[in-house]
Symmetry: C3
């Protein structure tokens, strides 16, 4: 795996997905999309407002909106352009939402099972 | 430590605990239960509905319920049967809830302090 | 990096920050403050009540308050005294909140960009 890292994206709020995009930038990364993060990658929803963590409160949410900056999907697109970033959807979560790969944004390279992901990851993973 | 990984379970919602069960399957894992995750392992509550992350929204929560599948406690039981999975409760969290090991599901092997857990973990941990 | 670990603190609730403090104690750690965790380190707010994760529910929140114990800022201060703990604020999050380093508690050593943090981190990071 060399210096590859493994990211499990679980949360689907825009603040967490921003942090995930930043963590993937310029690195060799294997990303696995589960639950609410997977839902956020649906091609018909990816640019929607996915909210922020509830702890942000109204003041934090307003600061987040005001700040703007690149959308996390654009950050991930750049990370894929310049680096070795692979994004896989969790098969079980796909099944839960009744989704096929065609329902997802082209950022997603395919789907795989949890066992395959963790076998590939080998060591520790970062769970976001 | 070989290829052992260390998981800190902090959250006690059923979606996160499902993800944790999947992460433990078939691997050599040392699990540490803190705060709301510990509370979810109480023997009188482990099979209760622990909800899902608030970001799921009503649509997500309904998809989660509908999907069913194995309960995370069953996944962890299988992970223990087939692999080298050790589950320890955080002593400080036990104290916070006023719990003894006898109050916890037999999945939990014992309790230990934070310092002992992190000493054992050595390298990076996955925090869920 | 030797046995140094890298922690990204994203959440700003007191339960998560307690867990982060425990993870930093007695280790060589590089901490990076993003979003709501950064907001919690403002010198005029650090000792305020930052709440707990919503899943705690009223019963959990009450147990957390009742338990007391050291504030996470005090745990981190001790971790810095006895170990090699460096705490950096994320430049992008600083910008989002309109903060300068002078607005932050002296626990924070400075600010850096995401790229610098992850370059320094090298391997896997723990995201809390």
């Amino acid at each position: 795996m060399g210096d590859s890292i493994s990211l499990v994206l679980f949360s689907g709020t825009d603040d967490k997905l921003n942090a995930a995009g930043a963590a993937a930038m310029g690195r060799k990364v294997h990303v696995f999309l589960q639950y609410w993060a997977l839902d956020a990658f649906r091609s018909d929803r990816i640019l929607k407002d996915h909210g922020v963590a509830p702890e942000a409160g109204p003041e934090g949410a307003a600061a987040f909106q005001r700040h703007g900056g690149q959308h996390w999907s654009e950050i991930l697109r750049q990370a894929k352009d310049i680096g070795d970033v692979e994004i896989q959807a969790c098969s079980l979560s796909m099944d839960m939402f009744g989704l096929g790969v065609a329902d997802l944004d082209p950022l997603v390279d395919g789907q795989e099972g949890v066992a395959a992901f963790f076998l590939h990851a080998g060591g520790p993973v970062t769970f976001i």
